[in-house]
Each structure stands twice: as structure tokens, then as C-alpha cells.
């Protein structure tokens, strides 16, 4: 037993390094998507202290809109542009109808409001697009679908072109967001608003503009995630579940930290794959990926309640 837990997995890793690399690669791909979704949460949380329960359904909604528009005969790239317009309209609508009337209410009420948004989007999406599964328009968007086979250490490493594209695009998006937040006045305004509303108003920051902006960015992230995940698993309401994968990422990384979201996402993506392949399948009968992340997050929370990168809350007495 001890052998199976502490020795055998590592022996496997070293005797078949090519397979280990395959596992790590796949972990990285899901990890970067988790990081992206978590970033959507963090952005909204930092600028408005709202935990946005609707992030998951926004992924589904964006993907459905894209596929739906294409099905109407609109060229693929124009559909992407139109979907972005739809996400912008959604951001404006959410700000007007939901957030603005609730300014200054306790956090829990705003959280409930995002659950409301979720339920509305499920119903609305189903009415317009129907509930059946759809296929992401991967090829029409020009996303490569083949694979490259490498032979490191005389073994075999298969890299799906789709995955490579996802990693590249997601990385660029994450880096772009970081630069935007850190080096532009708009980015500073977003961060400032999360810190202190009054002070933000006094330097001329408009709550409404910033809120629309962050919800729109969350919408863009949702679309990219929707395309990437939809290409692998098809477009259906079940996609919403991957947003819940961002929860342990947020617990691990801390709700306020952008670095935390990125590191946490990558960590969970890679660790859950490793655990599944080397411990889960041989010892526990597999399917550990559904719960491993949560257990990991809980263990971290035992030692660091604010997450790995969260702001430490120090009360002055």
C-alpha cells in the first residue's frame, strides 16, 4: 500500500518521462483555462466586491450566441464580432438593471442578484437557442485541429493543435489583461474602485463606466473560454460546470489576487491531472478530477484562510 502511494507513482514518472510530459501538457491546457475563468471572477470581485456566480453561464451564453449566429448564416468571424457586441449589451444591461439599483446593498444581496442573472440566462438561452447540444464552429474559425507528434526520450508526445492554440491565445489574453490593469489609467481605475468607492469617486472615477467595462471584459473571457472548451466538449449548458472549477482556484489563489488566479489555475490544472493518472486511476478507480481540486483547496484553507495570495485581513484593535 505504502509502496503504491509513495514509490510506484514516482517510479512510473521516471521510467516513462514522455508520458509524464503528456500528462503535464494536458494539465497545463486545462489549468490555463481555469486561470482564465478565475480571472473573470477576480476582476469583477476586485472592482465591485461581487462574487459573480453568473460567470459560468456567461461562458455558455457566449458560446451559444456564437454558434447560433453562425447557424443563421453569418460568417464565422463576423459572428465573433457580433457575439462581442451581445456581451457588451449584456454588460450594460446587467449594470443598469441589476447593479445600479443595488449599489450600497450588502454583498450577499449582490451575490443573490448574480444567481438571479444565472437563472435568467439559462432560461433565456434555452428559449432562444434551444437546449440541445451543439458543435463549436472550430474549423470555421480557422482553429487548427490536427496534431503534432513529438518523440522526446524516444517516447511519444501528442500535442493537439487545438490545445496549442488555446494555450497561446489564453496566455496572450492573460498577459494583455495584466498589462491593461497595471499600466493604464483605466486599469488603475478598476483596481482603485475595488479598494475604496468614495476615494474613487473623488478622483473622478465613474462607477457605472467601470462596472460596464469589467463585466464586458468578463464577457470576453467567457467567449474565449466558451470557444476553447466548446471545441473539446461541445456547446451545452453542461459547460457551466467548468466555471465551478474556478471556485477551488479562487480559494487557492485568493479572491483579490490576479497572480493568485493564474498560479492557482495552473496548479490545479496540473496537479489534478497528475493525481488522476498516477494515484487516482490505479488506487481509487479514477474520476478524481471532479473533487481533487476542492480537497486541495480545503487543505490550503486550513493553513492559509486567505488563500495563497489573498490579502491578509488584519484587524486593528
Amino acid at each position: 500500500m505504502l509502496n503504491d502511494i509513495f514509490i510506484a507513482p514516482f517510479v512510473d514518472m521516471f521510467t516513462a518521462p514522455d508520458f509524464l510530459m503528456q500528462v503535464l501538457w494536458e494539465g497545463l491546457v486545462s489549468g490555463i483555462l481555469y486561470a482564465l475563468i478565475a480571472l473573470g471572477f477576480v476582476l469583477i470581485f476586485r472592482s465591485s466586491r461581487i462574487f459573480n456566480f453568473a460567470q459560468g453561464i456567461m461562458v455558455v451564453f457566449a458560446a451559444l450566441t456564437l454558434v447560433g449566429l453562425f447557424a443563421m448564416g453569418i460568417p464565422a468571424w463576423i459572428s465573433v464580432g457580433l457575439t462581442l457586441v451581445v456581451m457588451f449589451v449584456l454588460a450594460v444591461a446587467i449594470e443598469r438593471v441589476v447593479l445600479r439599483p443595488l449599489v450600497g446593498q450588502p454583498d450577499i444581496i449582490l451575490f443573490m442578484a448574480t444567481i438571479g442573472i444565472t437563472l435568467f440566462l439559462i432560461g433565456f438561452g434555452e428559449t432562444i437557442f434551444g437546449g440541445e447540444n451543439k458543435v463549436m464552429i472550430t474549423e470555421e474559425l480557422g482553429i487548427p485541429t490536427g496534431d503534432t507528434v513529438l518523440e522526446p526520450f524516444g517516447g511519444l508526445l501528442i500535442l493537439q493543435h487545438l490545445d496549442i492554440t488555446v494555450v497561446v491565445v489564453a496566455t496572450l489574453l492573460v498577459l494583455g489583461l495584466l498589462a491593461f490593469l497595471n499600466y493604464t489609467q483605466m486599469g488603475r481605475a478598476i483596481r482603485a474602485l475595488g479598494d475604496d468607492h468614495q476615494a474613487a469617486l473623488s478622483v473622478g472615477i465613474s462607477l457605472q463606466t467601470i462596472w460596464v467595462l469589467v463585466w464586458f471584459i468578463a464577457g470576453i473571457i467567457a467567449l474565449v473560454t466558451g470557444i476553447a472548451w466548446g471545441a473539446r466538449a461541445g456547446v451545452s449548458f453542461a459547460l457551466e460546470v467548468i466555471a465551478y472549477k474556478a471556485l477551488p482556484v479562487l480559494m487557492l489563489g485568493g479572491l483579490e489576487s490576479i497572480t493568485g488566479a493564474i498560479v492557482g489555475g495552473l496548479m490545479i490544472g496540473i496537479l489534478e491531472k497528475l493525481f488522476e493518472i498516477y494515484w487516482g486511476q490505479p488506487l481509487l478507480g479514477g474520476n478524481t478530477e471532479t473533487w481533487f481540486a476542492f480537497v486541495l483547496a480545503l487543505i490550503v484553507l486550513l493553513f492559509r484562510p486567505q488563500g495563497l495570495f489573498g490579502e491578509r485581513i488584519i484587524e486593528r484593535v
Binding site: G176, A179, F180, Y183, T184, Q185, M186, G187, R188, A189, R191, A192, G194, D195, D196, Q198, A199, A200, L201, S202, V203, G204, I205, S206, L207, L213, E256, E311
Partner: protein, 270 residues
């Protein structure tokens, strides 16, 4: 504007015409009257103080000026025009910068970033331009950065530029807040108890900075203060409030000898 001639101060500074005027301002919260029918003006280039005992309505007045409160009655005139009801961020964009009594800084951000937010009122580049870090946005960022560095130099906080504000001691936070307000190059700078909770040395520093700002940039300053001694040394003209009413208005000397003011501060047998 009723009077655009201005006057010359004892130390020889030229004070201009009326920049802002409060006309019969009344502010009620339900049944409580926080400000009752107060009028006064702020002239270009002067240091104008509002003083009064605790609960006199000084902060409420400042909040009216900065747009955080909308007066129940009365008008605010600014740069010769009546100001319609506005949100605080719109007032800020018109050139009214402020600090807060209980320091409102962005604790998680560095000093430099905090002061940079002060430049938001001067931001013209669109979101797209900023997102792409292209053209106008980049030039603006450079220009803003230059102005901000000058303010940071001026207030002698260069050595803490990269420190997150949350880690700074109280006195320095106050100074960073002043820097952020100053970075906006405001027409009027509102200071809500800039010296509150400071020790003597810090108070002297802050007084010096306020006078220097007024001198160097010609910024019009309206400040609220508790500490009579400080106010009398700093300001050109003083409004005295008590229980929401104006009980005195004039130069420090005039105010000092005003019987109502003496009564309010020392108390009189009723």
C-alpha cells in the same frame, strides 16, 4: 460674479475674483438640519478655512462642495455659472479635488499608483486605445507620469514611491492623499481636516506643504480644521460655523475678535 476685483493679502499675494460661491445652502437629513442657510464665497488663489466645533456641519459643507451631498436648498456657483446637481465624479472632473477626514486611499496600490489615479480627470484616450497601449494613451501616460513625479518630489515622498499605501504610517498617508488630490491640478483643493490626529511636528510639515502648494501652484484651497491656532496661521479668510449656522466670516483677526465665535468655542452660560 458679483465682485471680480479681489484683494491683496498682508504678505503681498494677489487674490483674484470669486471662484466658487455658496448661496443660501441648506442641507437636511430627514428632520435634522445639518446646514442652515449658509452663504459664502471662495476667491481664486486664497486659502479659505471653514472652522467650528464638533458637529457644526463643516464636513457636510465640504461634501456639498465636492458633490457627495446635494443641498436641499440653495445654489452652488462655480466659475461664474450655477452648478446643476452632479455626481461626485463629475464634480471631480470639473477641477474640484479633495481629501477625506478618515483618509480614503487605495490601500492595496502603491503610492505611485495612488497618485496616478489623481490624473484620471485628465484622461482623454479611449478605452480601446488604452487596451492596445497605442497612440494617445501612451503619450498621455508619459505626460501624466511626469506631472505625478513632480508632485511626488514636491511633497517629498520619493522614497516611498513603490510602497503599498497600506503599510505607511498615518502622517504619510495623509501626505499621499494630498499628493493624489494635487496630481489632478485642481482649480479648488478641498482638505477635510488635513491635520487631524497628527503630532506637532507632522502638523508643521503639513502646514508648510499647504502654504507651499498655494504659493507654488497658485491653487485655491478650502480647508476644514479644528485646531484654531493652525487655521489662523494658514488662512486668508475664515468661515465659522456652529450648529449648522454661519456665525462669523472674515480675516483671522476679525474672526478671533468676534464675540459669537468666542462664545461658540469657549461656551457661554445660557
Amino acid at each position: 460674479m458679483k465682485d471680480t476685483e479681489g484683494y491683496v493679502t498682508a504678505d503681498g499675494r494677489q487674490i483674484g475674483g470669486t471662484l466658487m460661491e455658496m448661496r443660501n445652502i441648506t442641507l437636511r437629513f430627514g428632520g435634522v438640519v445639518a446646514i442652515q442657510d449658509i452663504s459664502f464665497d471662495i476667491r481664486e488663489g486664497e486659502v479659505r478655512a471653514i472652522i467650528g466645533p464638533n458637529g457644526a456641519g463643516k464636513s457636510s459643507m465640504l461634501n456639498v462642495i465636492s458633490g457627495f451631498y446635494t443641498p436641499s436648498e440653495g445654489e452652488v456657483w462655480y466659475k461664474g455659472a450655477k452648478r446643476p446637481p452632479m455626481k461626485p465624479f463629475e464634480v471631480a472632473r470639473q477641477g474640484v479635488a479633495r481629501t477625506f477626514q478618515n483618509i480614503a486611499l487605495f490601500e492595496g496600490m502603491t503610492v505611485l499608483d495612488n497618485v496616478m489615479t489623481g490624473r484620471l480627470t485628465h484622461m482623454n484616450a479611449g478605452i480601446a486605445s488604452q487596451a492596445l497601449w497605442w497612440g494617445k494613451a501612451r503619450d498621455e501616460e508619459m505626460e501624466n507620469r511626469e506631472k505625478v513625479e513632480r508632485v511626488i518630489d514636491f511633497l517629498e515622498i520619493q522614497n516611498i514611491r513603490k510602497t503599498p499605501v497600506g503599510r505607511l504610517p498615518y502622517g504619510l498617508k495623509k501626505r499621499v492623499e494630498l499628493a493624489r488630490a494635487l496630481a489632478a491640478e485642481p482649480s479648488i483643493l478641498l482638505l477635510d481636516e488635513p491635520m487631524a490626529g497628527m503630532n506637532v511636528e507632522e502638523k508643521e510639515d503639513m502646514s508648510r506643504f499647504i502654504l507651499d502648494v498655494n504659493d507654488e501652484f497658485g491653487t485655491t484651497i478650502c480647508l476644514i480644521e479644528h485646531d484654531m491656532g493652525v487655521v489662523m496661521d494658514l488662512s486668508d479668510r475664515v468661515v465659522v460655523m456652529d450648529y449648522g449656522k454661519k456665525i462669523g466670516d472674515g480675516t483671522p483677526d476679525e474672526v478671533r475678535n468676534n464675540q459669537d465665535v468666542i462664545d461658540a468655542y469657549l461656551g457661554v452660560p445660557h
